[in-house]
Each structure stands twice: as C-alpha cells, then as structure tokens.
C-alpha cells in the first residue's frame, strides 16, 4: 500500500479506538438523559473511577480480571448512590437543579479520589501485551482490539436488553411517556436507578479499557466526560445509535485532525464539534423528530 494510505489507515485505527471509548461514555449520557432529561455531568467521573479503582486493586496484588470486576462494581455503587441519595431526593426539583447536583457530585467524586488514592498518574498493563499487530503496513495495538471488541459486545448486549427484555422495554416506555409508564405500573424510580447503574457500568468499562493507553489519574474524567458529551450531542442527545456513531465519528475526526493538522488541536476538536452541532444542527445526526400521531 502507498505510504499515504498506510498513514490514513493508522489514523483511522487510533481514531476508532478512542471513538469507541467516547461512544461508551456517550451511551451513558443517553441512558440517563432518556430516563430523566438530566445531563449527568458526573459521567466522566465514572470513567475515572473505573481506571483508578482497577489500578488500586492491582496494586494490592489482585489479579487483573478480578480487579476489573471490583472496579466496575465500585463504580456502579457510586452511580446508584448518586441516584438514590441525591437525585431521587430532589426529584421534584427542576432539571437544571438536578444537573447542577450531578456537577457537584462529579466534583465530590474527584475530590474523594484525590484524597484517598492520590494525585499521581498510573498506567495499567495492557490486557494482552504490547506486541503490535501489522495490518497492511499499519499497526494496531492489542489493547485497541480489546476496546473495539468489548464496545461491540456491549452495543449488542444493550440492543438485546432494550429490544427483547421487559425491563429494557419498560425503560424505553418510561423515557417516551413517563405518565403512561406510571399508569401501567412501571416504577419510574427504579427505572432511574437502573439507568444510573447502567451508565456507571458503561463509564467504568470505558475508563478501564482506555487506562492502559492513556494512563489514569483523578482528573481524567473531565476531558473524557466532555468528549463523550460532544459525541452524544453530535449523534443527537438521547439516541443510542447516535451515541455510537457520534463517538466513532468524533474519534476519527480528532485523530485525522491531530494527524494532518497538528496534535496541538486534538482536544480542541471536541469543542469545535459541540459548538458546530449546536449552531448548525441542534438535534444532532440521529436526534428525535416527532413521529407521534395525535
């Protein structure tokens, strides 16, 4: 292959890997937004907790698979606690108040982590080593394959959950019509709790998958949360397919921008995307349009 194409392929590989991470974070935003119209600004902290707790468990001599499970569990407990202790108690407040609560919760989680686990940067080991795989001259790290594979598995699992299980459909129903959901007997508090738990799970998985590549730190959630948010906006807030496409697209745009223009601009691209989408197509690529007949 000509070097130009090899270079392009290389950028695409790295863009898709980080894009998959953004997609997971964006899916977390979408779940909570659909259940409550809350934009959960603590979503990034779930990502951070995933990586940081895995690191601390590993440092205690626990095996990687167990450390990962432990980190996912701890993060889910944090997500459930946020809903139970803060959001549910303020449920009658308006959405802006609830969003501010999530901002506060994010600051709290960050502070708590820096106090208990410190402010150092920690690298996690890659799941299956660092021997690069050669594909048509471009190299793919095994960790990137893990990211793409796990993300794909999660997307399939979510699809099955929302289309083939009663609980999944009840969550969809509650997000489309909360009044009707309550009238048929769906417990909307449980729906909200489930969506925070599920969002925390997605965030933790994203944080664990990316930690071997970018290392983890008590503040990684800020940037990853914002990128996930940009991806969610790009795809259309509240849309599942939108979150996935938005995440992958943002990852690729970022990687091409960093590769062909300058890596100085890498992080700025997410903000340009947020502003561009909000100005030019506020509903994003897959945003909701009214289909209901009245």
């Amino acid at each position: 292959m000509p070097p130009v194409l090899v270079e392009l392929l290389q950028f695409l590989f790295s863009g898709l890997a980080s894009g998959a991470i953004y997609a997971l974070v964006a899916l977390g935003f979408a779940l909570i937004y659909n259940a409550s119209h809350i934009i959960n600004f603590a979503q990034g902290e779930f990502v951070m907790l995933g990586g940081m707790v895995t690191w601390v468990l590993l440092s205690q001599g626990i095996d990687l698979p167990l450390a990962i499970l432990g980190a996912v569990a701890v993060t889910m407990v944090a997500g459930l606690a946020l809903e139970k202790l803060a959001i549910e108690r303020a449920r009658d407040a308006n959405v802006v108040t609830l969003i501010i609560i999530t901002v506060g919760a994010g600051i709290f989680l960050r502070g708590l982590t820096s106090v208990t686990l410190g402010k150092d940067l920690h690298a996690l080991p890659a799941f299956s080593g660092n021997a690069p795989i050669d594909i048509a001259g471009a190299t793919l790290m095994p960790q990137s394959l893990w990211i793409l594979g796990v993300t794909a598995a999660i997307v399939v699992a979510l699809h099955v959950f929302f289309h083939y299980t009663v609980v999944g459909k009840a969550i969809l129903a509650a997000s489309h019509n909360p009044l009707a959901a309550r009238l048929v007997g769906i417990n909307v508090n449980v729906v909200l709790l489930l969506s925070f738990g599920l969002s925390a799970l997605l965030g933790a998985v994203a944080g664990i998958l990316i930690a071997p590549i970018t290392a983890t730190h008590f503040e990684v959630g800020i940037m990853l949360g914002l990128k996930g948010f940009a991806a969610a906006i790009l795809g259309g807030l509240g849309s599942g397919p939108g979150a996935i496409v938005g995440g992958l697209l943002l990852g690729v745009i970022e990687s091409l921008g960093a590769g062909y223009i300058s890596s100085d601009y890498k992080d700025a691209i997410a903000f340009v995307v947020i502003l561009g989408v909000l100005f030019l197509m506020p509903r994003g690529l897959f945003g909701k349009r009214g289909t209901e007949r009245v």
């Binding site: 019509n177 309550r182 048929v184 769906i186 417990n187 289909t291 007949r293």
Partner: protein, 233 residues
C-alpha cells in the same frame, strides 16, 4: 369499592379539586361529567396516584391508598385509560400491550394478548407496527386493551370518545357496556354526557372542582340543570 372523601388537589397555587366526594360500588358503572376544566382528569389522576393530593382520602376496598405509589395501585387492581391515549409511540402495538401487564407475572400474558387480538383483529394485524402510527380510533382501542392487560378490578376511563368519528364513538361505548356486563367496575369520565349517563348506573356532575349533583343515570338525564348545561337541550 372506591371511596373518595373530601378530596382536594392543586397545581401549584391553582386549586383544581375542592372537597370532592365520590363512591363507586363493586360492579357499578359510574359516569363523571362536567365541562372542560372542571377537574375530571385531575380526579382520575389522584385515584391513580400520579397527581399530588392536598387533602382528603382515597380508599380502595376499604384500604387507604391516598399515599400509595402508582405501581402499587396498579398491582391492587386500579387501571386507567388516560386522556389523549398516551401511547408508547415508538414501541410496537404488542409491546404496548405487554407493558400493560408489567405488574402481573406468569405465562397467562400470552393468553390475554390472544383475547385482545380476537376482540380487535386490527391490533393483531398491526402488532409489529409502532403504536404511534395507528389511527386515533385504533390507538384508543389499544389504550383500553393496554389497561385491561393488568386485569383491573376498577377501570378508570378518561374521555375515551374524545376526537373520534361517530362510528368509533359507538364502538367505544359498546366496549364499555361489554366490560360492565363482564362485571368490571368502571368510572367513566365523559364530555359526551348524554351517552355516558345513558349507560351508567349512577352519575356525578363536577363543576369547577366541586361535586354539584349526583343521582342515578336516568334521573340525571332528565334533570333540568343537567339538560341545560350538558345536554344542550
């Protein structure tokens, strides 16, 4: 079966219900009529638990349910066909029906689905389509079937004939009459006072949040005040 005592409810500072009393006996069909904005929907929402009660009590089979959550009430046997049908629009017709049975467990749900499809074959034909694509009349049938999927002991119907063509209005009232024959207890809210009082055992008239009249269906139909205000005679 249902006893409402001195019920008061507010939207912020606006009072929508002011000390309302109403009872529905087992197997009865009770009609609640009143002008637009009288508070009929608010009353049904209070019974289902989706509207805060600021005073009074709601008793179901002697049990105080004033503070019970909506899903508890569905499990106890109270179902509502809400105003405006309130479909889960993007979900399929069949999913809408299945969600009507979320508070029930067991394989019987499939049998119930079949029974609904038998009664309304059009729903079977369209069972894989998003509920939002159905016509108004079909959505109303679906809303009724969805509520029936919970096996309610008390069914609340909020203006089921609203916005429908005369032929469909007939079908709705036929369905209500059939439910009564099957001994389902019914509280029917209607602006179509003539048709509602015509099939009801008893009726109530609500005016700006206060209950002003109650009597048997036939006697309310011949009441001068009702004739003038609600029957346009």
């Amino acid at each position: 079966m249902l006893d409402i005592e001195g019920l008061t409810s507010h939207y912020g500072r606006i009072q929508a219900l002011d000390g309302v009393d109403l009872t529905v006996g087992e197997g009865e069909l009770v009609a609640l009529v009143g002008a637009n904005g009288a508070g009929k929907t608010t009353l049904l929402r209070c019974v289902s638990g989706v509207q805060p009660v600021t005073g009074g009590r709601v008793l179901f089979e002697g049990k105080d349910i004033t503070r019970a959550s909506p899903h508890t009430r569905v499990a106890l046997g109270i179902a509502q066909v809400p105003e405006g049908r309130q479909m889960f629009g993007p979900l399929s017709v069949e999913d809408n029906l299945r969600l009507g049975a979320v508070r029930r467990k067991g394989p019987k749900v499939a049998d119930d689905l079949e029974r609904m499809y038998e009664r309304f074959p059009i729903l079977k034909e369209k069972r894989r389509q998003p509920a939002g694509t159905l016509s108004g009349g079909q959505q109303q049938m679906l809303a009724i079937c969805r509520a029936l999927m919970s096996h309610p002991r008390l069914l609340l119907l909020d203006e089921p004939s609203m916005g429908l063509a005369p032929l469909l209005v007939r079908e709705i009232f036929d369905t209500v009459a059939r439910l009564k024959e099957q001994r389902t207890t019914l509280l029917l809210v209607e602006q179509n006072a003539h048709a509602a009082l015509g099939i009801a055992d008893r009726g109530y008239v609500l005016e700006t949040g206060r209950m002003v009249l109650t009597d048997t269906g036939p006697r309310l139909l011949s009441n001068d005040r009702v004739k003038e205000a609600y029957l346009g005679l």
